[in-house]
Symmetry: C2
Subunit: 204 residues, 2 copies
């Protein structure tokens, strides 16, 4: 019973957009309200702080992406192909962003995590949690690739950490340079880390 509204969702969308296109520090509660078309009183009706809305929005956003990632990393897809498609997906996404809003924005989790990690512990914990989920997809793909002898990678967890670091580093590079073309080398770099040379990459 009672009134219904999507203001809560609009505030969550707004905070993620502002953080991503700008930064956590440059995102004020007033700017979140403006972006969402919601008054401040309503903001504090739903959330108790900027950190609160950010954590909630990250979690909600992550839940909304799971299905897509489950599909991308489906066990029915050959393991190395999963990774290739993921690279392709990242490239397309950043290219689209550049076209639509003029900026390559990189990975919001990494950008935000790096900005606030010494100051906002609950946010940091949520970001680490979600980054961990992403890593799991890669780790399992590597394990499968190793099992079918496409690569030699007995320690899938370590390889997954390496690949994530490279992936996130390159996305950040793309953001700083505002250039999505940087991401073209993503599959080559990843497959090099997996011990596949140029020739083997072409064969795959």
């Amino acid at each position: 019973m009672g009134r219904v509204s999507d203001a809560r969702q609009r505030l969550m969308d707004a905070v993620l957009k502002l953080i991503w296109t700008g930064s956590y520090g440059s995102t004020t509660i007033d700017s979140i309200c403006d972006q969402a078309g919601v008054r401040k009183g309503s903001f504090y009706y739903f959330f108790k702080s900027k950190a609160d809305v950010a954590v909630t929005a990250l979690e909600s956003d992550w839940q909304g992406r799971r299905a897509q990632l489950d599909e991308l990393f489906s066990a029915t897809v050959p393991p190395l192909e999963r990774i290739r498609q993921f690279c392709e997906f990242a490239y397309r996404k950043q290219t689209a962003l550049k076209r639509e809003c003029g900026c390559v924005l990189g990975c919001p989790l990494y950008t935000l995590g790096s900005e606030i990690c010494t100051q906002e512990q609950t946010l940091r914990a949520k970001i680490q949690e979600i980054l961990g989920y992403y890593r799991k997809y890669v780790e399992s793909a590597i394990r499968d690739a190793h099992a079918e002898h496409s690569i030699d990678a007995p320690d899938a967890a370590e390889k997954a950490r390496m690949i994530q670091a490279y992936y996130e580093g390159l996305l950040t590079q793309a953001r700083i340079q505002n250039d999505a073309e940087v991401l073209r080398e993503l599959p080559r770099g990843i497959f090099a880390m997996l011990g596949l040379g140029q020739a083997e990459q072409l064969a795959a």
Copy 2:
């Protein structure tokens, strides 16, 4: 002639420290002044804004590090050994930071660049410039390694970009997790990207 003071330098030290231990957004001009023990009037005597002091400080800090990097990447050191020492250096530095101030702080250029790149163009340009210098050291080491047939890397520039992305990504990971041990895998990851397997890495 006239009065002399090191307030300008203290302000530059302060802004870098605050940005590194916190973030650009959380660093206010008042906090810079407090940290430096300088009044606001003096701040505006030397600098015209936060972005101004940050750019100046980055440039000055970079100049102060050149000699050290020239030594680390000296042509008299075997090329792959240069890279190994650089990894070692990064690990030591972050470990020391963790011990001294409780936090793994990662790379200030990447953290800051990622935070402000959509908002502060002069800062972004300076950061990109300095990141480019770092990349040159790696690129030249790779070229030398290729020349002496330690590795097969005809495109040294691309390999250097890959390595930098991985390096910076891993440092950011270490910052977010507040754990320097993450950096232990740095040499392994880099040498994997250079096409050296486990066995060849041990041999080198």
